[in-house]
């Protein structure tokens, strides 16, 4: 049967993956919900954040410095992209946005290959983070706990920002009625740039944190982007709450599926079939979930937009 320790470990890992997905999903869903912009290059910002962090970490031997440096760098990059290219796309159809941001993906992947080479970067964890902490008699990697804590803090901050502050109110107002907010004397363009910057910073944070666990390579952005899109679709576009719930759900289901599906299959399938079928089904699990959610609620679990 299933080892409870293993189950707990994998639940924990799933939760941690969910947190990373949330950091990415939050930024993307905000940009989606507020500017109606389909930004496929969000994964590229994640990648750039990871590369910036890794580079600074290797140069200064300080992991912390790496993360701290990556955030403003990617933030600036994001805002630059928004001002020069993306803001021209707000009034275009989604097809245009998809194509233009697709072009950005190609560009950034190639840029990274040019500057850092095709191999990718290995980031080693500093010793103080590379230990394990025992929780409920199960040893858990300290670093993953840190990720979860950071992620939850950020989630709380975002919630406070969007729901409780004047800026947050402006942002939400800007989503539903740009002209009105503009008439109130607020520079809506600036608001949008800032929102995009926020999204970029979140993506960078995710990338910097993910570096030591996943690989820092070309194309890492697209790999995780698809999962992030599934999160947003399930959670509902424009909804931070949906992004959180969706992310945790996807993270946990994905990890548990990969770990336990073959044991589950072996209960009622011949061993050979189970062993070939399980990894295939495990990789399709989150998409099946997405299809199921969309079948019953095409706008996602917590749709923020009434449109």
């Amino acid at each position: 049967m299933i080892d409870p320790t293993l189950l707990f470990e994998q639940l924990f890992n799933g939760f941690q993956l969910g947190i990373l997905l949330f950091l990415l999903a939050a930024g993307l869903t905000l940009v989606f919900g507020i500017m109606d912009l389909m930004n496929l290059a969000h994964g590229s910002l994640y990648m750039m954040g990871a590369y910036f962090a890794a580079t600074v970490t290797l140069a200064t031997d300080s992991f912390l410095l790496g993360i701290i440096a990556a955030l403003p760098a990617t933030l600036l990059l994001g805002m630059l992209l928004e001002v020069t290219i993306l803001r021209k796309l707000y009034d275009r159809g989604h097809l245009d946005q998809v194509l233009a941001t697709f072009g950005m993906i190609l560009f950034f992947n190639e840029l990274v290959r040019l500057v850092w080479g095709p191999e990718g970067i290995e980031v080693a964890l500093p010793d103080f983070l590379n230990q394990s902490v025992t929780v409920f008699e199960v040893p858990l990697p300290m670093y993953r706990i840190v990720i979860i804590v950071v992620g939850l803090l950020v989630a709380a901050l975002i919630y406070l920002l969007v729901a409780k502050t004047r800026t947050g109110m402006l942002i939400r107002a800007g989503a539903s009625n740009r002209e009105m907010v503009g008439a109130l004397g607020v520079d809506i363009k600036l608001v949008f740039t800032l929102v995009f910057g926020l999204g970029a910073a979140l993506a960078a944070l995710a990338g910097a944190l993910a570096g030591p666990i996943f690989a820092v390579t070309i194309g890492m952005g697209e790999h995780i982007l698809i999962q992030v899109l599934v999160v947003i679709v399930i959670g509902g576009i424009g909804s931070i709450r949906g992004a959180f719930v969706g992310a945790i759900l996807i993270g946990v289901i994905d990890v548990l599926g990969r770990s336990f599906l073959d044991s589950l299959f072996k209960l009622f399938l011949p061993v050979n079939t189970a062993e070939t079928a399980a990894p295939a089904v495990a990789s399709m699990l989150i998409y099946i979930l997405m299809a199921a959610v969309l079948f019953f609620r095409p706008q996602g679990l917590f749709p923020a937009r009434t449109g």
């Binding site: 989606f32 389909m38 290219i85 021209k88 796309l89 009034d91 275009r92 159809g93 989604h94 097809l95 245009d96 998809v98 194509l99 233009a100 697709f102 072009g103 950005m104 993906i105 190609l106 560009f107 950034f108 992947n109 190639e110 840029l111 290959r113 040019l114 697209e222 698809i226 899109l229 599934v230 947003i232 679709v233 576009i237 070939t276 990894p279 295939a280 990789s283 399709m284 998409y287 997405m290 299809a291 969309l294 079948f295 095409p298 706008q299 996602g300 449109g307």
Partner: protein, 318 residues
């Protein structure tokens, strides 16, 4: 009308394509033959996407999946020593129809961005499925044991024969597309793109028609896949990767959506651009990416697009 810009360019392209094998023979550069075949196969793929995207407003970011499935059916059949094209090809098209039906039924319940994302996600799911099929090469792919056999009718291992078969099939797909677009069915599809709410009000249950169009497009892409397998003598999951779907969208855009020669022209431009740029630098996407962005921002109509002043309409994005 006959001498419209669209028709002239179309004639020019097909005239050129018709003589490529001769040019390749004379210049002794077989590469041209390869390039031509690849271009025509992608043209069929782009043509099929244009049916649902250009005319139907359904922006599918997972269309390459059907090319991959078509290719894989041929590859898997060959692996199991089922090499008769008479069985492989209809089977491949049937599988594509079934998959397109299922994916379409799920995706078409959504609109706008949700539709784009779900087609993308379903395509990636299929890609991962392909990667996990160790029995058929997994990540590395599967060499084609033997090209599809058609008794003594045609020998597909013969490069030029394959070339002209693809040429004829491209013409065939173009003809089918033309009839489809101008038929009652075609009007429904275009109407649904133009004004979905109005369609409902006058009495069209649009879902079933969009789904049918989706399946037809999937089957046509499957045909491209079948030809691709025979062209590359190889099938791998990369054929289904979402970036391949992105390539198809780019081709339709470059050539101009909403007319039938556009995607073919787009495929031609795309292939030539790819060749040209990679000849200049190894890092050609560094140029292609921004080029794409510029085209989207400033040359939205593509080379042959409708010079429509309105914002391009999508599938009922409210």
């Amino acid at each position: 009308m006959w001498l419209s810009r669209e028709n002239i360019i179309g004639l020019a392209i097909f005239a050129l394509l018709a003589v490529v094998p001769a040019i390749a023979a004379v210049t002794e550069i077989p590469f041209y033959l390869d390039l031509g075949r690849r271009m025509m196969i992608l043209a069929i793929g782009a043509l099929s996407l244009n049916l649902i995207m250009g005319y139907g407003g359904m922006i599918s970011f997972g269309h390459a999946v059907y090319i991959g499935i078509g290719a894989y059916v041929v590859g898997i059949c060959a692996e199991h020593e089922l090499v008769s094209g008479f069985i492989q090809w209809p089977l491949a098209l049937l599988v594509c129809a079934v998959v397109a039906f299922i994916f379409g039924a799920i995706s078409l319940r959504t609109r706008g961005v949700y539709f784009i994302m779900i087609t993308l996600a379903l395509a990636q799911m299929t890609y991962f499925l392909g990667v996990s099929l160790d029995r058929y090469g997994g990540d590395d792919g599967l060499p084609l044991a033997e090209p599809s056999a058609f008794a003594d009718l045609i020998d597909l291992s013969e490069k030029t024969s394959l070339y002209y078969l693809i040429f004829v099939l491209l013409l065939f797909c173009l003809w089918i597309s033309r009839r489809l677009i101008h038929s009652r069915f075609g009007m429904v599809i275009q109407g649904a793109r133009s004004n979905e709410e109005r369609m409902g009000a006058i009495g069209f249950p649009t879902f079933r028609y969009k789904l049918t169009a989706f399946v037809i497009a999937g089957v046509m892409a499957g045909l491209a896949g079948v030809l691709l397998a025979n062209h590359t003598d190889f099938v791998n999951p990369d054929m289904m990767h979402w970036t391949r779907s992105g390539d198809l969208i780019i081709m339709v855009l470059l050539g101009g959506m909403g007319n039938l020669i556009g995607p073919i022209l787009g495929a031609l431009v795309f292939i030539l651009l790819e060749e040209f740029l990679s000849g200049i630098t190894e890092y050609w996407q560094l140029i292609f990416g921004p080029f794409l962005i510029l085209v989207v921002l400033f040359a939205r109509g593509g080379f042959l697009g409708f010079l429509d002043k309105k914002k391009p309409t999508e599938d009922g994005d409210a």
